[in-house]
């Protein structure tokens, strides 16, 4: 019973986190492509959303996810190991994007161009995670 509730909490947090992550990535990508693309107000709003919603959602994703893996005794499964690797990479990317939003809110610093490729990468990671969790091919 508690497992199902944890799973629901995990999925809800994943939805909030991936949505917020995409918003942050698209905003930073717009800046990386064209400096004047995103206004100061947008940067501020997205930055605030990231601090108040996306980052707490990430913490819930980790907390509920680890609890689920322990309860379901999933540690050791290859699909979970691969998924954990992808989630660690996405968390690190989230850290970079959150830092970039802070930097952009503070100054007109140039944004590294490689960040403009992050939105499709996040979508790809989300799709890979969905396949790993639902199909469990390994």
């Amino acid at each position: 019973m508690i497992y199902e509730w944890l799973k629901a909490l995990h999925v809800a947090a994943v939805l909030c986190w991936s949505g917020g992550l995409l918003v942050a990535a698209v905003t930073v990508a717009a800046y990386a492509t064209k400096a004047e693309a995103a206004g100061a107000a947008i940067i501020e709003i997205v930055g605030r959303w990231d601090r108040r919603v996306t980052t707490p959602a990430m913490l819930v994703v980790w907390g509920a996810g680890l609890a689920l893996a322990m309860q379901g005794q999933w540690f050791g499964s290859l699909w979970l190991t691969i998924k954990l690797g992808i989630v660690v990479a996405l968390s690190a990317l989230h850290g970079v994007l959150a830092g970039m939003l802070r930097r952009l809110a503070r100054s007109e610093a140039p944004t590294p161009h490689w960040l403009s490729h992050m939105p499709p990468l996040i979508v790809g990671c989300a799709a890979a995670i969905a396949v790993l969790v639902v199909v469990k091919p390994f």
Binding site: A40, E44, S91, A92, H94, G95, V96, L97, A98, G99, M100, R102, R103, A105, R106, S107, A109
Partner: protein
């Protein structure tokens, strides 16, 4: 956003990072100086089974905040290297907390 709001936000980020740095440093000490000897000399393997994941989570939280701090800019490479390397060394978390406190004081001084 005004300059004072930016400063308040940076201060809050540094305070969070200092708190996590202290937790990371303390859990590393508890792991190395208490849990590991308990496991090897007293046979209490449960000590490392509890402290290991707790320190692991604190370490991950610290690294995540460090990534955010570095991406946010305003830190030199030697400073970043010191903040990263010290997290692996016992008592390093406390050294990092002092570095962060110094930066907080600089930022708080108008």
């Amino acid at each position: 956003m005004t300059m004072s709001q930016h400063r308040a936000e940076q201060l809050s980020q540094l305070k969070w990072m200092r708190a996590i740095s202290l937790i990371e440093g303390s859990t590393l000490l508890l792991l190395v100086l208490v849990a590991v000897p308990l496991k090897h000399f007293a046979g209490f393997a449960v000590a490392t089974r509890i402290m290991g994941p707790i320190h692991g989570l604190a370490f991950l939280a610290y690294i995540w905040l460090l990534i955010q701090l570095v991406a946010g800019g305003g830190w030199s490479r030697p400073e970043i290297a010191r903040l990263a390397i010290a997290a692996f060394i016992p008592f390093g978390g406390f050294v990092n907390a002092r570095v962060l406190a110094r930066r907080e004081m600089l930022l708080a001084t108008p």
